[in-house]
């Protein structure tokens, strides 16, 4: 066992990991190394992130061994991992938003001069060098705050590469990126591979894995169920291996909305945020809101909720003008919002499943002068959601921080539905959830509109916009620049409007 390949190979032997007696990883044997991009796929809770956290020193395995280049190693902290050449680019950015880029890149390993003081110039120079290698145009002195999601991602990668990494693990790197930014990331990953770095690419997006990776490992319920070259497997087969059963068409058939307009925006403007937004939503319709990240889609939703104050324009519910000055007004007029930023504004992670689901609708469970909560009724109702949404939790009193991302999202969805809305604004409802949870959410939305509820569907994934929506409004720079319908809803048309190419073509 010698030679260059084994020198730079991570091999795991019978890795097991339990959390509170529940096995999360079972006898994982994989090897990672050489010039390759390895895709690791699996549903939420399949153990992908746990495995990577073990390799990067954040978790310790319950049993099993890790070898690097044939020698057994113990990775007891992220610093150990770094010294072994393993870096992790986490799903949630680990950046300090008030500090400049170069400080973030060297956070925890600052360069110092001979007096023991920070050597800012050296750090700036090194950061500049790294950014140049990645071919990105970011000022090392820019504050993290001022960067786009893609920019932050690049800084995370920079941070990982600053320490001579041989293994770069990327956990769901494209969740926050637009299609264009994804292209840039892909060429970056390929150039890293060309430099001899092994990239481990964890993703839900099978198309990306198919396009980018050389080899794919599929995890299901904590075990490896497939390990082979990407060339020998198509995305459908990948999906089937992930869920362990045959998948039907992922999108349910579209239903025909009624003529009646239930919600309308007329010329709504929030200075500097959204300009002259007009759209109408019919009963039982799914209206897509497409556009690149930063086009102002979420801001439209926030304006409807009254979280941003508009300078002109009005909202109409069933033809009547409604004043939506705060979220309580929106709830009162039957409008509900499913947040894109699950942990930031969607759910209280320190609250139990029960308390989260009824947070918006709590008034409905209260009676008497003291607004006493009727606990029995509350519990029964929430248990109903847990059953029908198949939320995996052992108790209604379990805190959400102990649930997987997909289950958190289902709780968030249940929370939006419990106020019995007639209009649901679903903002990136499938972000960060796996194929089967996605499928369940699609079915749920389709079922909802069949019942006469209307939905504004905000998404960055064109596939689901196309698969789900009756009509699509495309936004760019805070404006609605195009409205697509029926057969006109195509990837080309959406991108055409979203990127502003149509204006150039016209001029």
């Amino acid at each position: 066992m010698s030679g260059d390949m084994t020198q730079t190979t991570i091999r795991t032997e019978k890795i097991n990991k339990e959390f509170g007696g529940v096995p999360v990883l079972k006898d994982i044997d994989i090897s990672i190394g050489g010039q390759e991009i390895l895709g690791i796929i699996g549903e939420n809770g399949a153990g992908k992130s746990t495995l990577m956290k073990i390799l990067s020193g954040i978790y310790q395995p319950t049993s099993g061994k890790v070898f690097i280049g044939g020698t057994q190693v113990r990775i007891e902290s992220p610093i150990d991992a770094r010294n072994l050449g393993i870096s992790l680019v986490p799903q949630e950015f680990n950046l300090i938003k008030d500090l400049p880029v170069y400080n973030n890149v060297f956070l925890g390993a600052e360069l110092r001069n001979r007096y023991g003081l920070l050597d800012k110039e050296a750090m700036k120079a090194r950061t500049k060098e790294l950014l140049a290698q990645l071919n990105v145009d970011i000022d090392p002195e820019a504050r993290i705050d001022s960067l786009s999601a893609a920019g932050k991602q690049m800084v995370e990668i920079c941070k990982a590469l600053a320490f001579e990494s041989r293994f770069l693990i990327m956990d769901e790197p494209t969740t926050m990126l637009t299609k264009y930014e994804i292209e840039i990331l892909f060429s970056l990953v390929r150039s890293l591979k060309a430099k001899g770095i092994t990239v481990v690419y964890i993703s839900h997006k099978l198309k990306e894995v198919k396009a980018l990776c050389d080899r794919v490992v599929v995890l299901r319920d904590g075990a490896v169920v497939h390990d082979g070259p990407t060339a020998g497997i198509n995305t459908m087969e990948m999906a089937q291996k992930m869920v362990g059963r045959e998948l039907g068409s992922i999108f349910p058939p579209k239903s025909q909305p009624e003529e009646k307009v239930v919600f309308e925006a007329r010329g709504v403007t929030v200075p500097g945020v959204v300009q002259d937004i007009s759209f109408s939503l019919r009963k039982g319709e799914i209206l897509g809101l497409a556009g690149l990240v930063g086009a102002g889609r979420t801001e439209v939703a926030e304006t409807v909720l009254g979280l941003r104050s508009k300078s002109s324009g009005e909202f109409l519910r069933n033809g009547k003008v409604v004043e939506l000055a705060e979220p309580a007004d929106a709830v009162a007029s039957g409008i509900s919002y499913l947040s894109e930023d699950r942990q930031g504004s969607g759910i209280v992670t320190g609250f139990s499943v029960l308390k989260n689901v009824t947070l918006v609708s709590l008034a409905g469970y209260c009676r008497g002068f003291f607004r006493l909560i009727e606990e029995k009724r509350e519990r029964d109702k929430v248990q109903g959601y847990v059953d029908s949404f198949r939320i995996k939790t052992d108790s209604l009193d379990k805190r959400l921080e102990n649930l997987s991302g997909g289950n958190q999202q289902k709780v968030s969805l249940a929370k939006s539905m419990d106020s019995d809305p007639e209009v649901l604004i679903a903002d990136e409802p499938t972000r960060g959830v796996d194929v089967s949870a996605k499928h369940e959410i699609y079915l749920f939305l389709a079922d909802l509109v069949k019942k006469g509820i209307s939905c504004v569907f905000i998404s960055s994934e064109l596939e689901e916009i196309i698969g789900m929506c009756n009509r699509v409004a495309v936004m760019r720079d805070g404006r609605i620049v195009g409205l697509l319908e029926g057969a006109g809803i195509t990837e080309e048309n959406i991108m055409f409007y979203a990127t502003g190419v149509h204006e150039e073509a016209a001029s």
Binding site: A330, Y337, T349
Partner: protein, 336 residues
């Protein structure tokens, strides 16, 4: 002990819930040994409870404020200010009614609670409408209300002109003969226990209580969930202010006078300490009223015990500090 029995066999006792109660039990046994036999005498125990009740009542309101994610440093100063206003009004009434002391006392206490409430409301408004962080606002009002009181009294005392107010301050309830001695519940202790029941109920069984935790845990999520975050926070400070007024009324009656430089001095620290020892998270979002009551008693028992051991009050202060840090350290370990 009953909690331990109530837990199903083979299952671990819920440490998070009963941890502070177990610590109180252990401390009680320790104090009994060190202070043998005086600590266990009824008179002493009743005294311990009475001494802890004044800051204890304030700590109840402080629990709400801390759960909301805030802090109130002004409680001691507000206590002094509301007591001063109340005693002045009471004396006015004594003269006006020509000795109808019951009316005067009721009026005086009413003013104290109202002034406390108003002061809390001012804190709440500055924090929610003025968007100034609670630490700064209450640091400011702490200074304002303390020095207003000093100015009014020319740094002296306001003596009450009502004899019966003093009697009210020493009032005892439920006198029973236990054979080993007469037991009776001092009024402030009764107020503490009833107040804890009311606020605990409010926290755990009403919409407001749920919203309070949500706001403290993640105010952005609460806002997006149609919770009127400003209202919820405002009421935490207003309720706390009223609670401070109640405590001030009891404490002023105890001495039948208000000494403006000393009245309520350092109460904020004692109240915050009790809340922290009781297991309420300083970052907000979750907490327990009964935990705070346990925290209050623990602090007082420690002081009483060290007194009996003959330690100087200075060393007592040192021990108190160690206990505060130690208890939070233990709670941290339990969580991870």
């Amino acid at each position: 002990m009953s909690e331990a029995k109530a837990a199903k066999p083979g299952r671990k006792i819920d440490l998070e819930k009963y941890g502070s109660l177990i610590a109180l039990g252990a401390l009680f046994i320790l104090a009994s040994v060190i202070g043998w036999p005086y600590f266990l005498q009824l008179e002493n125990l009743v005294n311990v409870m009475r001494q802890s009740s004044y800051t204890g009542i304030i700590a109840l309101g402080m629990t709400f404020v801390i759960i909301s994610g805030g802090i109130d440093l002004s409680v001691g100063a507000v206590a002094a200010f509301s007591a001063s206003c109340g005693v002045l009004f009471m004396n006015l009434l004594v003269r006006a009614t020509q000795g109808n002391e019951i009316l005067a006392i009721a009026g005086g206490i009413g003013v104290m609670i109202l002034v406390g409430f108003a002061a809390g409301a001012i804190n709440g408004l500055l924090i929610t409408m003025g968007k100034i962080v609670p630490f700064i606002v209450t640091l400011g009002t702490m200074s304002i209300f303390r020095y207003l009181s000093l100015q009014m009294a020319n740094a002296g005392e306001f003596a009450s002109h009502s004899q019966q107010y003093g009697t009210f301050g020493m009032a005892k309830l439920f006198e029973v003969n236990l054979g080993i001695g007469k037991f009776s519940l001092p009024l402030p202790v009764a107020v503490l226990l009833v107040g804890a029941m009311v606020l605990s109920f409010l926290l755990n069984n009403t919409r407001y209580g749920r919203y309070l935790c949500a706001v403290g845990s993640n105010s952005r999520v609460a806002q997006y969930s149609a919770v009127r975050v400003g209202h919820v926070r405002f009421w935490a400070y207003a309720i706390n202010g009223a609670v401070v007024g109640i405590s001030a009324a009891l404490l002023a009656a105890r001495f039948n006078t208000v000494s403006t430089p000393n009245f309520g001095l350092g109460f904020e620290m004692d109240a915050i300490s009790a809340v922290i020892i009781g297991g309420t998270a300083m970052v907000g979002g979750r907490g327990s009223i009964w935990g705070t009551v346990v925290g209050v008693f623990m602090l007082q028992i420690i002081q009483n015990m060290l007194n009996m051991a003959g330690l100087s009050p200075y060393i007592q202060g040192v021990v108190k500090g160690v206990v505060i840090i130690g208890s939070v350290y233990i709670q941290r370990q339990r969580q991870s």
